[in-house]
């Protein structure tokens, strides 16, 4: 019994060290249209600190392999806050397959394959049904490499 506990502690400490091998940073921005020096309208992304209902916000997730070892099976998952509506087609990620969940992260699938069952009737899921966005990397994330996942949502 004592031996078992010791092994468990060892595993735990190993895991704690290993967790720092990927660094993940998220930002939230919104588009602001302003007039530049030439008098033209220009759109710029700024940090979203003041957002009104109906406005669009853009989330960017930057993940970096800060270890000396490749990481494989890399999956980024982003739950959507309940007052946010996913903007159809907005999720991007180079070298990644994009999936969604419409049932709080239980089932993930490509947008076209996802269904919702309401009152016993099954229908294709719509962008506003999505509760999670997920990016699945097709290849390994090499040591020192960085990936960027992005999506947009409308504040209800």
């Amino acid at each position: 019994m004592k031996l078992t506990t010791g092994i468990a502690l060892l595993l735990l400490s190993f895991t704690a060290v290993a967790q720092s091998h990927l660094d993940v940073q998220t930002t939230v921005q919104k588009e602001v249209v302003f007039e530049n020096a030439a008098g033209e309208e220009e759109t710029r992304l700024v940090q979203a600190d003041r957002v009104m209902p109906g406005e669009k916000v853009i989330y960017t997730i930057t993940f970096t392999n800060v270890s000396d070892e490749n990481a494989d099976n890399v999956v980024i998952t982003n739950p959507l806050a309940k007052d946010l509506l996913y903007v159809e087609g907005s999720a991007t990620g180079e070298g990644m397959d994009i999936q969604f969940s419409a049932n709080d992260g239980e089932i993930f699938a490509a947008a076209a394959e996802l269904t919702v069952t309401e009152n016993g009737e099954t229908r294709p899921a719509k962008a506003e049904d999505f509760t999670h966005v997920r990016w699945v990397m097709r290849n390994d994330l090499a040591a020192g490499a960085q990936g960027i996942a992005r999506f947009a949502a409308i504040l209800e």
Binding site: F14, T15, A18, Q19, S20, H21, L22, V24, Q25, T26, T27, V28, A48, D49, R50, V51, M52, P53, G54, V57, Y59, I61, F63, S67, E69, N70, A71, D72, N73, V74, V75, I76, T77, N78, P79, L80, A81, K82, D83, L84, D104, G105, T131, L141, A149, L155, E156
Partner: protein
Amino acid sequence: MESASRFLAPVANLLLGASMLCAICVLPGTASAAGTAVGTLIENTASVDFTQLGVQQSTNSNTVSFVVAERIDVVVTLRSGQVAVLPGATAQALLFTVTNTGNGTEAVGLAIDSLLVGDDFDPIPALPDSIFFDTDNSGDFNVGDVAYAAGVNDPVLAADESIDVLLVNDIPGTVADGNLARSELRATAATGSGAPGTVFAGQGDAGVDAVIGTTGATAAVFGEYVVDDVTINIVKSQVVSDPMGGTEPVVGATISYTISVEVVSAGTAAAATINDVIPTWSTFVPNSITLNGTTFTDATDGDAGEYDLTGAPAVVVRLGDLTQADGLQSIVFQVTIE
């Protein structure tokens, strides 16, 4: 030990589910037609699962958040149709609804404008007050309705809340039949109004920034009065036929009533209806109602007349929109003396 861990497994899954839910937790959000409530904190955390050296691992991103700002929007809708008025009529009301379509609480200032262009005459805002709240929710202007005083009792509306407002005008005595007059209600958010996107820093609910929405935080809608100065002549006559072939009003005698209706001026008597309660000492003769010689059934059905027993027994005939061109309308029905 093995059975214990089997028992524990579902619990661990449950906890994982709960922590994922926590990543999307939002306080104190309540979405509505007006949008997410002012001050709601919207948080976002991504997680990454990966495998390194054969060990499955997971890590979370930083949590980013923003606060929902106040969007100030005001909408005014006209509730009454064209209000028919007589020359010289006083205290004629138009009903409006003012709605806060923003996502925060706003005080709203109200103003009346009866000097609009595009009409035939200007109605005169009633004195001393011309803007009233429809306090009794009747849709009409009544004694109990409270007068509005700018800056004193500006209505304070929560997100999505609305209030009914009456504009009360007098009609000049010199106007002619068919003349139109307009009177406008303007509602403006007290925090400010102007170009959509204008920011009032720190002036929203609980000190968040307030931003002017697409309505410009001000709205104005006018209602219309139409002068309906129609003169109608109504004459009622009777012919008594007693059982002996005479004209004595004795028990058992029949009285044939004739009601003649005629518009004798310009204008339209809209939805003119004759409602004549029969004498209490009489009995209605079934199927005796005629209009210009056409008989109506007694039942309330598809035709334009009936013997109505819902209140005091009465003969009801609907003449429609009546003008001088329609000429004399003659309604006849019979009763017997009890």
